[in-house]
């Protein structure tokens, strides 16, 4: 699974129709370790810029990330 660093993020409180039942939820642009950036969803703990994240699944083409456990 891909890993990366949070480039920017937000918590959405007012969503489009298709996502209205899921608010509030967090989205982020993640700078991937392999290069490039991707917009995905954050599961679990909220993240801030600079946090390390790991991809946990891809649903309908959308990557879902979780804050990486720091050792």
């Amino acid at each position: 699974m891909r890993t990366g660093t949070v480039y920017t993020e937000t918590v959405i409180h007012l969503a489009a129709e298709a996502f209205a039942s899921e608010v509030p939820f967090q989205t982020a642009i993640v700078a991937l370790d392999g290069g490039g950036r991707v917009t995905g969803r954050i599961l679990g703990d909220r993240v801030t810029i600079g946090d390390r994240v790991a991809e946990v699944e891809v649903r309908n083409g959308v990557p879902f990330f979780r804050k990486a456990q720091t050792v």
Binding site: E9, T10, P63
Partner: protein, 386 residues
């Protein structure tokens, strides 16, 4: 290239008008514009319509001839331009190219949007279609959330504060309260602006522009013919349109809009003026952070200093360089497809000295910046007394 002038302007108020459909709005603005220029519709040689999402908001397509024929403009080219929130700015740019190139003399541009007939969640979805549906939007992004992520990064890199965003909202509401055509004529306090309902952190309701109905219109002509049409011609001194990625995550640095920088550079060069010389401006404050970044990208302040610039009052109605004396998209309203031409209307009113209680002190050289999406299209226009 021929010098070009604005010889007539007209608009509807911006707001929620349940009794006016999209064509009625566009026709109202167009008729006021024709009257302002003392022109019969039969004299218009080419017609442009700026509109973002008429087909999605109201189901109507083929909008350019739908509107032009209702105005009594028959047989001429009638072209719709779509570039998200920069739709009518782009229509204005293309109308300008036709007149400047000598293809036509009298070209009319109408911008229109009818948004309030849809519930907010549906409006949010339609607006999101100006983003990348295969990536950011599929992840649940809204336009507010894209600008929220821009704001977060700007805060992280430059130390911009939540209060700076609120200061833009307070300033624009104060100006809009003086504008009889504004959607929300209500001054707000800094405390109110900080305590709005959360939309997408760090943006709250008061950081977001309004969902509005409205239309605006202008007529362009070669400068050499302007004096026979109006006592108060306003010259288009410089104009530029530029483009960039649609998806925010493809941009190298989201704290700046390269399309704004590029469009501005073209417009400044054509006009032969520097950013310091611009006396007042209408900037695309779809979200408060967008005005802050535009003031930096246009060279009014150094990068990262746009927040303090607004907070310290430099861009207020009585400041050194008023920004959004009309109230901006924030208070005047943001009928998406009407916004670009609406900004031109506001510049023309100021330059003619017809802006009433919100008239700025120095008003011979103004700039309008119209942004589409999260920066994929930008049109910058510089207008001055002819």
């Amino acid at each position: 290239m021929r010098p070009v002038a604005v010889v007539g302007v007209g608009k509807t108020p911006f707001g929620a008008f349940p009794d006016l459909d999209i064509r009625s709005l566009a026709v109202q603005a167009g008729e006021r514009c024709l009257a302002n220029a003392h022109l019969q519709p039969s004299l218009i040689e080419s017609f442009y319509l700026g509109n973002f999402a008429g087909p999605a908001f109201v189901g109507q397509n083929h909008l350019a001839p739908y509107v032009s024929t209702a105005l009594g403009i028959q047989g001429v080219p009638a072209t719709r331009v779509e570039a998200a929130c920069a739709s009518s700015g782009s229509a204005f740019f293309h109308a300008w190219t036709e007149v400047a190139a000598g293809v036509y003399d009298l070209v009319m541009v109408v911008g229109v949007e009818k948004m309030t007939s849809q519930p907010t969640a549906r409006v949010t979805e339609i607006l999101a279609s100006a983003g990348d549906l295969t990536g950011e939007i599929r992840a649940g992004s809204t336009f507010a959330s894209l600008f929220a992520m821009i704001a977060r990064r700007h805060m992280y890199v430059f130390g911009t504060k939540r209060e700076h965003l609120a200061a833009v909202a307070v300033k624009n509401h104060a100006a809009g309260a003086l504008n009889p055509d504004a959607h929300m004529r209500k001054p707000i306090t800094l405390e109110q602006a900080l305590a709005g309902k959360p939309i997408a952190d760090p943006l709250n309701l008061y950081d977001c522009s309004l969902i509005s109905d409205g239309a605006a219109a202008v007529i362009l002509a070669p400068l050499e013919r302007a004096s026979e049409l109006t006592d108060k011609p306003v010259r288009v001194l410089g104009i530029g349109q530029a483009s960039d990625y649609v998806a925010l995550d493809q941009k190298e640095d989201i704290t700046t809009f390269p399309a704004v920088c590029r469009a501005a550079s073209t417009a400044y060069r054509m006009a032969g003026v520097t950013p310091e010389e611009i006396e007042f401006a209408e900037l695309h404050d779809c979200f408060t952070i967008a005005e802050i970044i535009a003031s930096e990208d246009l060279g009014f302040v150094k990068r990262g200093c746009g927040g303090p610039y607004a907070m310290e009052g430099h861009s207020s109605l009585t400041g050194g360089r008023p920004i959004n004396a009309s109230g901006g998209l924030k208070s005047k309203g943001h009928p998406v497809g009407a916004t670009g031409v609406g900004q031109i209307y506001d510049l023309v009113q100021q330059i003619r000295g017809e802006a009433g209680p919100r008239q700025v002190a120095r008003h011979s050289l103004g700039l309008a910046e119209n942004l589409g999406g999260s920066g994929a299209t930008c049109v910058v226009s510089i207008l001055g007394a002819a």
